[in-house]
């Protein structure tokens, strides 16, 4: 399963922008929703902690390091180089608005940077303090789904109660960082009967230094190399509509105490500075993963991370997963080069069910993946690429460039190719299907400001599938086009008009034409306005319309309207978001996604389907420098349903209410 927790950074940015009363969150909303449509799970990431820390203790722009700037996804490599060159040539800045004098920096980028940077004399280099952070969260649904109800004849299907509980803590002291997280999902028991430990428990110890051993992590950690085609536990930006985000940056080994139960490594990872720019990162990982036995030797992976029902509990941590390898990277003149390999082995043979569309899917118990990646800047052009080999035979290839002649014009293109049999267990490139194999994709992105206050973003992708895919019994082509116009009406108000078209193929569901494949057009129209009434009040209104248009059956239509009222106190201690949404869709095909504010570190992008309304109230209050409390309540109300959900998750009645409480202690 591919995890793209990049969104957490986006979410944090949204959070910060609401706080600072900025209006640059349109693209961020879009990205969130696009990723949610892909069904990608998002969770905590080490970078999120970084962003939270720098939003509280901003970085001094005069003392910032290149590695720190690279964590800001909205900065391109050219902008980073220009900024560092400016500081080298002109010395320290006196005000953040001096950024306007740096080539490639416009008001939009400066506004995005403001929450995270300050300008101070060099001797007062601001660094985040050592300390302890503790997060505890509790979520629950008020109504009780069928799976939790005990009747006369049967016990409840779910072993545990309907609450979700999370406890996460970080301790930082000088060069040492420790982290731990434990989580219980709804339906799971708090303590596993076999291990007498929480259902999910991860932790790490991390040592960082500027000497030979730059970083050492023991415990759970994440890695991201190159464009992530062969190895990545992190997030990908390669599929975002903003052309400046078409390239991924490598991220070194970093400790992990998030809640995603699948996408991390467990063992030891080291970064060793061999000589000058040569950095070697050997790593070793072993952990048990969830799987079900198909026969005595073959297994099928269970990728939900849930251990609620009898069969899910039986499948918990059944198969050992071993992985070891190494990454070496260097920078020679203007060219960053990185290469690596790893060996991956399961205790049992992985078997994919051989339905026709899975004919080329990976089966086996071990593999070796190798890769070579590069990136370079030539004038105003960033070029990057990656070649990855699976068992020295199946290949995947990525090549892209970004041209940024000035900050008001960016153009990017990316091409990607996967052999039928290419497989990487930890991979971080966007795919329109679960499996990338047999996919060819070309993406173009354009960003321009034809007028001072008007920005135009254009995104177009074409994907050709060289084999059948799920629910498409034919070689097919799909495409996606998005055009977005953002206009600043004033310093406090912005509007966005967006159109998106997805064209793809799908099997007919009609009884009479069951064997046929039809083409489908999906249109989405959006109008949104943001208005910062004052430093305390902000209102956002969105109207969105979707049309799902199959070739041989009737169209279905969907509407979503929402109104946000956001209040932030002058001291920034209290932040309240109220949202009322009304939705009306003919069916699930015309559903509409919308990002919702949530408690810190949590993510919500619900799909609006059916006819009804949703009310959301999200409150955070900083009681003191140490203690912050969060509360969220949301309610779905459906007009034309007598029950919500299906199967064991079914709730009787037409209301569903969700609650969340969270506290954060920061010493």
């Amino acid at each position: 399963m591919v995890l793209k927790s990049f969104l957490i950074i986006i979410l944090l940015l949204l959070f910060c922008h609401y706080l600072s009363g900025q209006n640059e969150s349109f693209l961020i909303d879009d990205w969130m929703e696009m990723i949610a449509e892909e069904g990608i799970e998002v969770d905590w990431d080490e970078n999120l902690d970084f962003f939270i820390k720098v939003s509280i203790s901003p970085l001094n722009i005069n003392a910032v390091k290149k590695e720190e700037l690279e964590k800001f996804f909205f900065l391109s490599d050219i902008q980073i180089e220009n900024l560092l060159y400016y500081l080298y040539e002109n010395g320290s800045m006196l005000t953040i608005y001096e950024l306007q004098g740096v080539e490639g920096f416009d008001d939009r980028i400066i506004d995005l940077m403001k929450p995270f940077f300050v300008v101070e004399p060099l001797k007062e280099i601001g660094r985040y303090n050592a300390g302890l952070n503790v997060i505890s969260r509790f979520n629950s649904i008020v109504q009780t789904p069928r799976g939790y109800i005990k009747d006369d004849a049967n016990d409840p299907v779910f072993a545990g109660n309907k609450q979700r509980f999370l406890l996460r803590s970080d301790l930082e002291f000088g060069n040492i960082k420790l982290g731990i997280a434990m989580e219980k999902d709804p339906g799971e028991v708090y303590v596993n009967n076999k291990t007498q430990l929480p259902d999910f428990l991860v932790g790490y110890a991390q040592y960082t230094n500027d000497s030979k051993i730059q970083k050492l992590v023991i415990g759970s950690y994440r890695l991201h190399s190159g464009q992530g085609m062969a190895l990545s536990n992190g997030y990908s930006r390669s599929y975002l509509a903003d052309p400046s985000n078409i390239m991924d940056r490598s991220k070194p080994v970093r400790g992990y105490n998030g809640t995603n139960e699948l996408n991390y490594l467990n063992g030891i990872g080291v970064e060793i500075n061999l000589w000058r720019n040569f950095v070697l990162t050997p790593f070793f990982s072993y952990k048990k993963i969830d799987a079900s036995y198909l026969d005595s030797i073959s297994v099928q992976l269970q990728l939900t991370g849930f251990h609620r029902t009898e069969s899910e509990i039986d499948n918990r941590k059944r198969v050992g997963e071993l992985m070891f390898g190494s990454i070496i990277k260097s920078c020679i003149k203007q060219v960053n080069i990185e290469g690596g390999f790893y060996h991956y082995r399961l205790n049992n043979s992985l078997l994919t069910s051989k339905k026709m569309y899975q004919y080329f899917s990976y089966s086996g118990e071990s593999l070796i993946n190798t890769w070579l990646t590069y990136s370079t800047i030539v004038g105003n052009v960033i070029m990057f690429g990656e070649l990855a080999l699976n068992d020295f035979s199946n290949k995947s290839l990525l090549q892209g460039f970004m041209w940024e002649p000035r900050s008001s014009f960016k153009f990017s293109a990316q091409m990607r190719y996967f052999d039928h049999g290419f497989y990487a267990p930890y991979q971080c490139v966007r795919s329109a299907s679960v499996n990338n194999s047999g996919e060819e994709r070309v993406v173009f992105g354009l960003y321009m400001k034809p007028f001072e206050k008007t920005a135009l973003s254009l995104y177009h992708s074409i994907i050709r599938y060289n084999w059948l895919k799920y629910l498409v019994d034919k070689l097919s082509v799909s495409s996606e086009t998005m055009v977005s116009v953002d206009r600043d009406l004033s310093s406090r108000s912005t509007i966005q008009i967006r159109y998106r078209l997805k064209q793809f193929m799908k099997n007919n569901s009609s009884e009479f034409l069951k064997l046929g494949v039809q083409s489908i057009n999906q249109h989405q129209y959006r109008f949104q306005s943001n208005y910062n009434i004052s430093n305390c009040w902000n209102v956002v209104t969105r109207v969105e319309h979707s049309i799902y248009s199959p070739e041989i059956s009737d169209n279905s239509y969907g509407w979503l309207f929402y109104q946000d009222i956001v209040f932030t106190s002058k001291t920034k201690c209290l932040k309240t978001t109220f949202r009322y949404s009304h939705f009306d869709t003919d069916d699930y095909n015309s559903r509409i996604y919308a990002y919702e504010p949530d408690v810190l570190y949590a993510f919500s992008v619900p799909a609006f389907s059916g006819n009804g309304s949703r009310i959301l109230l999200n409150i955070s209050y900083r009681f003191s420098r140490i203690f912050t409390g969060y509360f969220r309540i949301s309610n779905w109300h459906y007009n034309n349903r007598s029950s919500i959900g299906t199967g064991i998750n079914e709730i009787s009645g037409n209301d569903k209410t969700e609650l969340a409480f969270q506290i954060r202690l920061s010493f």
């Binding site: 208005y531 209104t541 509407w559 009306d584 006819n611």
Partner: protein, 272 residues
């Protein structure tokens, strides 16, 4: 007589069943602007967007009569009163629609005010009473929220939620749904004396309606209005005349199969 009966049945059955459009939007300004009234601030904001009352500077009274398709059974009568206080603006209005066998009354009480200099917000409670011959009275309470904000001196945005809690009227075996409605509109003053309105309006159980309209002060004290609804394919028009403290408005809408809807109102501003 048969045609008259047919028209009444057709009207009542085709619009939000028991409530009738009459007490939702029945004023001549809204009618002339094809219901593009969510950004307006006038004596009939009680129907379009309660936030609009918040800009009132002095006490106002207004009366209205609206008739649909020249049938006296489909007549709406209403009265509106807006009183500024030092805490904000209080408004109250009764409306009554129908005839002896079907009678719908709406009584409103609202509060609105400015937040800062550019944002108006309003909240309103509506007591709804329906009388059906042979069945008796049905009553319920409905809420009404609105926001109007001036993004620019020439650009105003309005949002209005009517019945977000989706109240219905229950009586014995009957459950009459009151139409929840959400409206979003923009008013753009493209010339010194002319404003263009576009509005998205959606009842919870029906397709959305998109309307646009233009209001222009043709001469001092004489206002012309014209509107068109895309979804309903209706053209409307009207005029407004301001004579000292009095404000007279007329509105007309032509419905293709059924005929004309006409509305007239008279408003009096105490301190004008």
């Amino acid at each position: 007589m048969l045609l008259k009966f047919f028209l009444i049945i057709l009207y009542i059955s085709s619009l939000t069943p028991i409530i009738g459009q009459g007490v939702l939007h029945s004023n001549p300004v809204s009618l002339a602007l094809s219901s593009c009234d969510v950004t307006l601030s006038n004596e009939w904001s009680v129907q379009g967007n309660p936030a609009g009352n918040g800009s009132a500077k002095s006490t106002e009274f207004a009366l209205l009569v609206e008739n649909r398709y020249s049938l006296k059974e489909l007549t709406t009568r209403g009265f509106s009163c807006i009183v500024p206080t030092k805490f904000g603006i209080i408004n109250a209005a009764p409306f009554q629609f129908g005839f002896s066998d079907l009678n719908i009354s709406r009584y409103t009480l609202g509060y609105s005010r400015f937040f800062g200099t550019k944002v108006l917000a309003g909240f309103q409670l509506n007591y709804w009473s329906v009388y059906i011959s042979g069945s008796g009275y049905f009553n319920t309470l409905i809420s009404d929220f609105g926001l109007i904000y001036s993004v620019l001196p020439q650009l105003t945005i309005g949002v209005h939620l009517f019945n977000p809690e989706q109240s219905s009227i229950e009586y014995q075996y009957y459950d009459y749904e009151i139409p929840g409605q959400i409206s979003y509109g923009i008013g753009w003053k493209f010339m010194k004396s002319s404003t263009y309105y576009i509005e998205f309006e959606k009842e919870y159980d029906s397709s959305p309606n998109i309307s646009n309209a233009v209001q222009s002060e043709l001469y001092k004290g004489f206002i012309g209005r014209i509107g068109y609804s895309y979804s309903r394919n209706e053209i409307s028009s009207g005029v407004g005349i301001i004579i000292r403290s009095f404000d007279i408005n007329l509105g007309f809408l032509y419905h293709q199969p059924l005929g004309f809807i006409s509305s007239i109102s008279l408003a009096y501003n105490i301190n004008k």
